[in-house]
């Protein structure tokens, strides 16, 4: 039994890793510059200095790496949250985390913090905004030492409404210059020039994956309900707290580096669960890999479908993800 299951999991992982490599290679080979794939080995062999080498490794590769980190982080955060809340409609954005991050970035733009401390102000303010919301939601939902998951969900939704209203307020009161700064950031893009931030995102999301793995069995038990999990010897409060903070960290990281990219955290965990089942031991890593591939694929499409336009990657994730999701749901007749 165990042997058969592990064999199945290895196959799933193998397929997902192969898909990730394939998608990444595809992303490396496609783009507006029209470099034919056949010439790529030659360009790589030729080494640094040429414009084409620069396009491959200074423009395309960083986007692929960031797509890997952000896609993985968002998808993992979604998996964790859906596991804690036992609610398939929860995603990183439902908890108000992204709303808080947007608010942080808007404030940064309006009060010109980026003028003081440089571009790094964007991710920092986004992350601080996310943290503020997390603390707020968390504080409101803590009652007598236990975290009320239903309460958290409602509070989160409300907070996200409040923060989007505040963002609109800021926009209504701000000048066009600030406005379009906000829009750029909100649209979401993997176009991050600062390689340090890219690597921070990679390390952060992979670190999140490692930490989450220590809680996969706890989440399996939580699928039976919180009381059942207690009966199985799970420290439910600690698990919820750690995982909630972890998911918030992953979301805050993604939102503050890449802006708002929706749907990945909602759709990918779902689709993957259809193949792997609900066992978080395989679900976490599969969702991470699939989210990474999905976002890299979407970004490649975003920068190639309507040339020379570059679409916001969130548009593509929404359209493709939503369509695939509806199709899969109708096929499986899964009730939400």
């Amino acid at each position: 039994m165990r042997g058969a299951r592990i064999r199945r999991w290895v196959i799933i992982l193998f397929v997902l890793i192969a898909a990730l490599i394939l998608v990444s290679l595809m992303a490396l080979c496609t783009g507006a510059a029209g470099i034919s794939p056949a010439r790529i080995p030659g360009i790589i062999y030729g080494g640094k200095g040429t414009g084409e080498y620069s396009i491959l490794f200074d423009i395309r590769l960083p986007r692929i790496i960031l797509g890997f980190a952000i896609g993985g982080a968002l998808s993992l955060a979604g998996t964790i949250l859906q596991g804690i809340f036992r609610n398939p409609l929860v995603e990183p954005y439902t908890l108000g985390i992204s709303g808080g991050a947007s608010l942080g970035v808007c404030l940064n733009i309006v009060f010109n913090w980026y003028g003081v401390i440089g571009v790094i102000a964007y991710p920092i303010s986004g992350f601080l905004g996310a943290v503020m919301v997390i603390l707020f939601v968390y504080g409101l939902s803590m009652k007598a030492g236990t975290l009320k998951t239903q309460g958290i969900l409602l509070t989160g939704v409300m907070i996200s409404f409040i923060s989007s209203s505040l963002v609109m307020l800021i926009m209504a009161l701000s000048h066009s210059e600030d406005l379009h700064g906000i829009v750029f950031w909100i649209m979401g893009s993997l176009d991050e020039p600062d390689m340090l931030l890219v690597w921070v995102a990679v390390i952060g999301s992979l670190g999140g994956l490692v930490v989450s793995f220590f809680f996969c069995l706890d989440l399996n038990a939580l699928a039976l309900g919180e009381e059942e999990a207690v009966h199985l010897g799970i420290n439910v409060e600690r698990t919820k707290r750690v995982l909630f903070i972890l998911a918030s960290f992953l979301t805050g990281l993604s939102v503050s580096v890449a802006g708002i990219i929706g749907f990945v955290g909602l759709i990918i965990p779902h689709l993957i669960r259809m193949f792997t089942g609900t066992d978080h031991r395989i679900l976490f890593i599969s969702a991470f890999l699939a989210g990474a591939s999905f976002l890299i694929l979407c970004d490649t499409l975003a920068r190639t479908v309507i040339q020379p336009f570059e679409l916001p990657v969130g548009v593509i994730t929404g359209i493709i993800g939503g369509a695939v999701f509806v199709y899969a749901l109708s096929r499986r007749q899964v009730s939400l």
Partner: protein, 270 residues
């Protein structure tokens, strides 16, 4: 005198500001099969939830094997006490995987996969509880009775010293009621498992329990053998209903008959 396994000392407990249990005090001995009975709202489930550490007692202490349960880690407690709840969740997982979760309290900190020993235990208890025939079905697709059996198998896999059950036979037909209670009795007799279970049905409680605990308004009304607890005086007092208590001709255990208003009018005339 048998050794005391569970001692509940002067425990008060409840939700929010409201106290539901007041000064509950009783003992369960090793090898006993104790049934908790009482009217709706008398605090049966609250008592079970307090003993199973879902609720923290406001006052008093609960000892298991002489050790305060409040001081145990979650895992330590789960290795000693397992709980079968009223209606187990219909999670999206296979029956076998579900039962395997019962081995979680025994997993090491960096252990992610079950050992051969775990697998063997799961197979053994699935046989014992007659779960094997549907072990590959999804938990959401089996019947309520089957789910209850699976839940008991999961609890047994935890290899507990004390098994707590909260109305394991509610929502089940008599075939399944008897099947499950017979199983519990066998576990009690053959494995020496100590059982504390809430039962709604007085006759089932009387038939299967070695001792009964009658709750009323959050306090213990009476503890004793079925013959001592189920008398028409006590039952009428606590349940505020007119009943007839006779001996079951087969077992000799007390058996409660309801008296409807019409029956009583006829009875008076006759």
């Amino acid at each position: 005198m048998k050794k005391t396994l569970l001692s509940v000392e002067n425990v008060s407990s409840g939700y929010g500001g409201e106290l539901i249990l007041r000064n509950v005090d009783f003992r369960v001995c090793q090898g006993e099969l104790m049934g908790i009975i009482g009217p709706n709202g008398s605090g049966k489930s609250t008592l079970l939830r307090t003993v199973s550490r879902i609720l923290r007692p406001r006052q008093g202490r609960i000892h298991l094997d002489g050790k305060d349960i409040g001081g145990m880690s979650h895992r330590e407690f789960a290795r000693k006490v397992s709980v079968v709840s009223q209606s187990p969740e219909s999670a999206e997982m296979r029956v076998r995987e579900y039962i395997l979760l019962g081995r979680l309290p025994y997993f090491g900190k960096y252990q992610f996969f079950e050992t051969d020993h775990d697998e063997a235990l799961v197979e053994r208890y699935m046989e014992l509880t007659h779960v094997s025939r549907f072990k590959n079905s999804m938990m959401s697709e089996i019947s309520g009775g089957e789910r209850q059996l699976a839940s008991i198998a999961r609890a047994l896999v935890q290899e507990p010293e004390l098994l707590l059950l909260d109305e394991p036979t509610s929502h089940l037909d008599i075939t399944h009621q008897v099947q499950i209670l017979e199983l519990i009795r066998r576990l009690n007799r053959e494995l020496g498992l100590t059982v504390l279970m809430v039962l709604h049905d007085l006759n089932l409680a009387s038939a299967y329990s070695t001792r009964l605990l009658l709750m009323n308004r959050g306090s213990v009304f009476k503890v004793g053998s079925p013959e001592e607890v189920i008398t028409y005086r006590i039952v009428e007092d606590v349940y505020e209903t007119v009943v007839l208590v006779e001996k079951n001709p087969l077992s000799g255990k007390p058996c409660v008959f309801l008296a409807t208003e019409e029956d009583m009018r006829k009875g008076k005339k006759g």
